[in-house]
């Protein structure tokens, strides 16, 4: 279309000015010009429209895959949640400009200059040669600039990611910062960190701008020399080559095509830093997508029906957290079905790790875990969740009503079962005093509830569906003796209906008294405590 447009315009000019034809003769050419222009608009608009659509599809799919990968990798695989947020958010967004900007531009940059060159050559080979000569400089330069840009962009993206994690952490701890009077210190840190990010960003941009400026300069020089060459040729000042054969029509045609030769290349250079951004983003995305799964995918997955309680065997179990020394070596432990086992021992001795292994948040490096003789690693995700209930040290509550938070344990549970679970975990005791009872809304992370109350809500949630293995990580640590007794009584009540096996990490004498068996975990070794 742009060729037709240039040709029509050149012909009009030549017809009118050189051949002095009446304008009425040129009507068809003028209409052709208008048609070519409008067709061009149509194509451009369509291209933008379709590119936007493609980009939307890609981003949606990637987000879903990222969240899936993080689920499969499990909660213990995480460096920092704050660093994962920008991966799913901003870094997926950088792909948009890749799909709507860089990709179409790179196709255009390959096709259009070639087509233009063919037409210019056929009209005037010297002008064509002039264009062809400048052309290779451009990609060459772009590759050079691109190398620097990519490194700078990767650094900038890494800084952005780190800053994200840092900010999230400080926002979360803002009350503590305020408490220690660290406002001024934090502000200074924000200042220096944003300043570093600004410098990194400007570095990326400077490279991008400079490369497109150089490109534009080459393009402008090329166009200017073609204009002057055509001018001189028409004037009759150049005697050699095809110059004497130039007419206003062919000269104007060549001149009009010259900018079109460079336009897609210029567009490409402007989109080049989108490519650098997208590649850096893609690297971060790939890192998450390639996180090792917490449990190897079993093939074929085994889907045993959960019984009321499970007999647990740990055989020659070995485990180490990444980057740390071996925690467990050849660990042997049998927990008979229905037993109430309490793990005690110093902080960091391995209690929580043992619970994580039993929960399937991590898998043994060697040896195996068996549920009723079946290898736990071969369980499907659904089977794993149906067998194990887990309650962590820090209960997590989302913003919503207490009932909603409990219902998360089983979406099919009716009101009656939610109330029953709330009753057992002593949630009703304090919920009754709240204006809306179980429908009272709690804030993010249980704001509005005391630590103990939040823990009881989480307990009710974990107990909503009976499961054959109940894992409790310091469940009563924030409760007083009376509260602890109540929760233990509630546990007794639930266990009377469904006698699950219980493994509980705790220091509390009350909990140990409630247990049937106590094992001390210290330095990765187990020691049965006499009772």
């Amino acid at each position: 279309m742009l060729v037709a447009q240039a040709w029509a315009l050149a012909s009009i000019a030549a017809g009118l000015i050189i051949e002095a034809r009446p304008s009425a003769d040129l009507q068809p050419l003028l209409l052709l010009l208008l048609g070519a222009l409008l067709a061009r608009v149509l194509i451009t608009t369509l291209r933008r429209w379709l590119a936007a659509d493609a980009s939307v599809r890609v981003r949606q799919q990637l987000r879903a895959e990222l969240m899936r990968a993080m689920t499969v990798a499990g909660p213990t695989a995480f460096a920092a949640a704050g660093e994962r947020v920008p991966v799913v958010d901003e870094q997926v967004e950088t792909l948009d400009r890749y799909y709507t900007g860089f990709l179409p531009q790179s196709i255009a940059a390959r096709v259009i200059p070639a087509v233009v060159l063919v037409f210019v050559f056929s009209n005037d080979w010297l002008a064509g040669a002039l264009l062809a000569l400048t052309a290779p400089i451009i990609p060459l330069f772009m590759v050079l600039a691109g190398l620097g840009a990519e490194q700078a962009a990767a650094r900038q993206q890494a800084q952005l990611t780190r800053l994200g994690g840092w900010f999230l952490d400080r926002v979360r701890g803002s009350a503590t910062l305020r408490l220690f009077g660290a406002e001024a210190r934090t502000e200074a840190a924000v200042k220096s960190r944003t300043e570093n990010l600004r410098q990194a960003t400007m570095k990326v941009l400077r490279i991008a701008f400079l490369s497109s400026a150089v490109l534009e300069f080459f393009a402008a020089v090329a166009i200017a020399s073609i204009a002057i060459y055509v001018g001189l040729g028409l004037f009759g000042a150049i005697e050699f080559g095809p110059a004497p054969a130039l007419t206003l029509q062919s000269g104007l045609f060549v001149l009009l095509l010259a900018p079109e030769f460079f336009q897609p290349l210029r567009g490409l250079s402007q989109a080049w830093h989108d490519r650098a951004d997208a590649r850096a983003g893609a690297a971060a995305i790939r890192e998450v997508l390639e996180l090792p799964p917490a449990r190897p995918t079993a093939d074929p997955a085994c889907n045993p029906e959960p019984g009321p309680s499970a007999n647990i065997e740990l055989r020659q179990l070995g485990f180490a957290w990444p980057g740390q020394g071996r925690l467990f070596d050849d660990l042997e432990l049998v927990i008979p079905a229905g037993q109430r086992l309490v793990l005690t021992g110093p902080s960091g001795g391995g209690k929580s790790t043992l619970l994580a292994l039993l929960a399937g948040f991590a898998s043994p490096a060697s040896g195996e875990i068996r549920f009723d003789g079946l290898r736990f690693e071969t369980f499907s995700e659904a089977a794993r969740a149906a067998h194990v209930a887990w309650l962590g040290q820090r209960p997590w509550l989302f913003e919503g009503s207490i009932a909603d938070n409990i219902a998360l344990g089983d979406p099919e549970a009716g009101r009656a079962r939610i109330e029953q679970a709330a009753e057992r975990a002593q949630v009703l005791e304090f919920a009754r005093l709240l204006p809306d009872g179980l429908d009272s809304v709690v804030g993010e992370n249980g704001v509005g509830l005391s630590g103990g109350q939040a823990q009881r809500v989480a307990l009710a949630r974990a107990l909503l569906v009976p499961r054959p293995l109940l894992l409790l990580d310091e469940p009563t640590a924030s409760l007083d003796a009376a509260g602890e007794a109540e929760v233990l009584a509630a546990l007794d009540g639930v266990l009377r209906d469904t006698p699950a096996t219980v493994v509980c990490a705790s220091h509390r004498a009350g909990v140990m008294g409630w247990a049937e068996r106590v094992i001390e975990v210290d330095g990765g070794r187990l020691r049965e405590m006499s009772r």
């Binding site: 009009i12 000019a13 000015i17 050189i18 304008s23 040129l26 208008l34 222009l37 608009v41 608009t45 936007a52 939307v56 987000r63 969240m67 899936r68 993080m70 460096a79 920092a80 949640a81 994962r84 958010d89 999230l168 910062l177 220690f180 009077g181 502000e187 200042k191 990010l197 600004r198 960003t201 400007m202 941009l205 534009e216 402008a220 200017a224 204009a227 002057i228 001018g231 028409l234 004037f235 900018p259 005690t344 902080s347 960091g348 948040f361 969740a385 962590g392 820090r394 997590w396 989302f398 913003e399 704001v447 509005g448 109350q453 989480a458 640590a477 409760l479 003796a481 509260g483 220091h507």
Partner: protein, 557 residues
């Protein structure tokens, strides 16, 4: 002044940079116009001269003009982009510091209830969103409008009014189109803004709860609601993308029409010999170059609504109207006598009073235990005594001065409040401790950790005091975290402390050894322990049963 206004109407400091960027932008567009017009003119003129139709032709002046325009365009465009972006990122860096200051200007009680995901979004994403305003909207608008108006002026003065009318028509049409586009993008732009915030908050919450979600096998389902926000966001983005494509197309149609009309009218003028051949071609090409400058505005306009919303949210964070927390008379306490008289407090009007006329005294050096079952108000009392919450009525005084009359810095230097929930930062162990005592050296921190029975643990860490604690202090167990919190209290050297369940999660042997090692530190400090048992604590002078003391009134009711 609102954030949006501040960015679009920059103050004295950013004005020179902005003026430079605008001048450079307009100059770049004008140079592009001159380049194409002059080239067209030159070729046509030389063709005529070659035929002998033009007697004399000076080739050198136009040739030099073309070269000058080519160089000017390049340099000016480069300058515009560099200066414009630099000014923007400087503004945003300042804005971020100010937003952080605004956040930390809130009271501790407010910060404890902060919606983390939302504030995090405001501090990061929303501020980032503003980077389009200057380089993609304001600067391109000025570098399109200024040259267009100038060219119209030249057409009126030097050439023909009709041609000027065509271009003026284009200007109005383009402006109208962009205004229409801005209107159409308001709804999807707003939706993008809302859904992006929702998605991000949802994501933060999802990641925080991942452990429990995975254990309940609900992680995928909860991810679904985050992804649903993401999908709605993308749908709105797609609508915006389409509006942008249509705006772009509309601008091209208007521009090409103007070009075609200029050519058509030019032909008429040429036939009536009102216009020379070279200028007829040159002017048509000038219009073509001018259109280019308008096209980037399609993107800028479609972004505007999203940026405007973000600016509004950043406004909310900075909240310039909020008074800084400095009382009228920042008084200093006379001594360390903490006294509570006739304290009344309840969380909300329709709830029973938690404290109904509570009296309490803590004389310097005294150790007291406030005891009571879970939920009886121990932690709330701790917050009241720490000056975090304010009583409904009654007085809490330190050295005769009411807590809210104290200089807040003085208050925080004097009373150390250790809440039940420990906050550890994604930072080194040393930095986490130094939060409380910026001047503490490694030796002192190690000594305190030893006393807190964390020596063995510390020696087992890969990098000792410089070991990085994971986010939320994930590599630290609950009991260790609690002792790190206590270590901060010890390091900060408060004369008066309120310790909320300091030994929770500790076994008796460790607790006893810990308090023994802290004996000299404990000696002359005033401390209120809030706990449900006495066993794990050091020697206590007096025990207060909060249940019996404070709730008599509410029980009677």
């Amino acid at each position: 002044m609102s954030v949006l206004r501040r960015i679009l109407l920059p103050g004295r400091r950013t004005l020179p940079a902005l003026a430079l960027a605008v001048t450079a932008g307009a100059l770049a567009t004008l140079a592009a116009v001159v380049l194409l017009a002059l080239s067209g003119w030159l070729i046509t003129a030389t063709a005529l001269a070659g035929l002998g139709a033009l007697a004399m032709l000076d080739l050198f002046a136009p040739g030099a003009g073309i070269r000058a325009a080519a160089v000017t365009r390049t340099v000016a465009r480069y300058l515009e982009r560099l200066v414009g972006h630099d000014a923007t990122f400087r503004q945003l860096a300042e804005l971020r510091v100010e937003a952080a200051r605004g956040l930390l200007n809130r009271s501790v009680a407010e910060l404890e209830r902060l919606r983390v995901g939302e504030s995090f979004s405001r501090l990061t994403r929303d501020i980032d969103q503003l980077d389009h305003l200057l380089p993609r909207l304001l600067l391109p608008a000025l570098s399109a409008v200024i040259p267009t108006v100038l060219v119209i002026g030249v057409l009126v003065v030097v050439f023909d009014g009709t041609l000027a009318t065509v271009l003026a028509g284009f200007l109005l049409l383009a402006a109208g189109l962009l205004a229409l586009g801005a209107r159409a993008s308001r709804r999807p732009g707003g939706a993008v803004s809302i859904e992006a915030t929702d998605m991000r908050s949802g994501l933060v919450e999802w990641l925080a709860g991942l452990a429990e979600l995975v254990s309940l096998n609900r992680a995928d389902e909860q991810a679904g609601s985050v992804l649903a926000s993401g999908r709605r966001r993308l749908a709105a983005q797609r609508r915006l993308g389409r509006i942008e494509a249509l705006m772009h197309g509309g601008l091209l149609v208007a521009g090409y029409l103007a070009f075609w009309l200029v050519l058509w009218i030019g032909i008429g003028l040429y036939e009536r010999e009102a216009l020379t051949g070279p200028w007829m071609i040159g002017l048509a090409l000038a219009v073509l170059a001018l259109i280019e400058a308008w096209l980037p505005l399609a993107v800028g306009v479609s972004f505007f609504e999203t940026a405007r919303r973000s600016a509004g949210r950043v406004d909310g964070l900075i909240d310039a109207d909020r008074p800084t927390e400095t009382p009228v008379a920042g008084q200093r306490p006379n001594d360390l006598h903490l006294a509570v008289r006739d304290l009344h407090f309840r969380f909300a009007l329709h709830q029973p009073e938690l404290f109904d006329g509570l009296d309490l005294d803590l004389v310097p050096g005294e150790k007291r235990l406030v005891r009571g079952p879970s939920g009886c108000g121990k932690s709330t009392l701790g917050r009241l005594l720490g000056g975090i919450l304010e009583p409904d009525s009654g007085r809490i005084t330190l050295g005769g001065v009411a807590l809210d009359q104290l200089d807040p810095r003085e208050l925080r230097r004097t009373i150390g409040w250790m809440p039940q929930d420990v906050t550890l930062f994604h930072d080194s162990l040393g930095e986490n401790l130094r939060l409380a005592a910026p001047d503490a050296d490694d030796g002192r921190m190690i000594d305190v950790l030893e006393r807190l029975q964390l020596g063995a643990w510390l020696r087992g860490l890969p990098d000792g005091i410089d070991t990085w604690l994971g986010e939320h202090g994930k590599t630290v167990s609950g009991g260790q975290a609690r002792r790190l919190s206590l270590a901060r209290m010890v390091l900060a050297d408060y004369p008066l402390l309120i310790l909320d369940e300091p030994t929770r999660g500790l076994d008796l042997a460790t607790a006893t050894a810990m308090w023994d090692a802290l004996a000299d530190w404990l000696a002359d400090r005033s401390i209120i322990f809030l706990s449900h048992d006495t066993g794990h604590l050091p020697a206590i002078d007096r025990v207060i049963d909060l249940d019996a003391l404070a709730r008599q009134g509410s029980r009677a009711r």
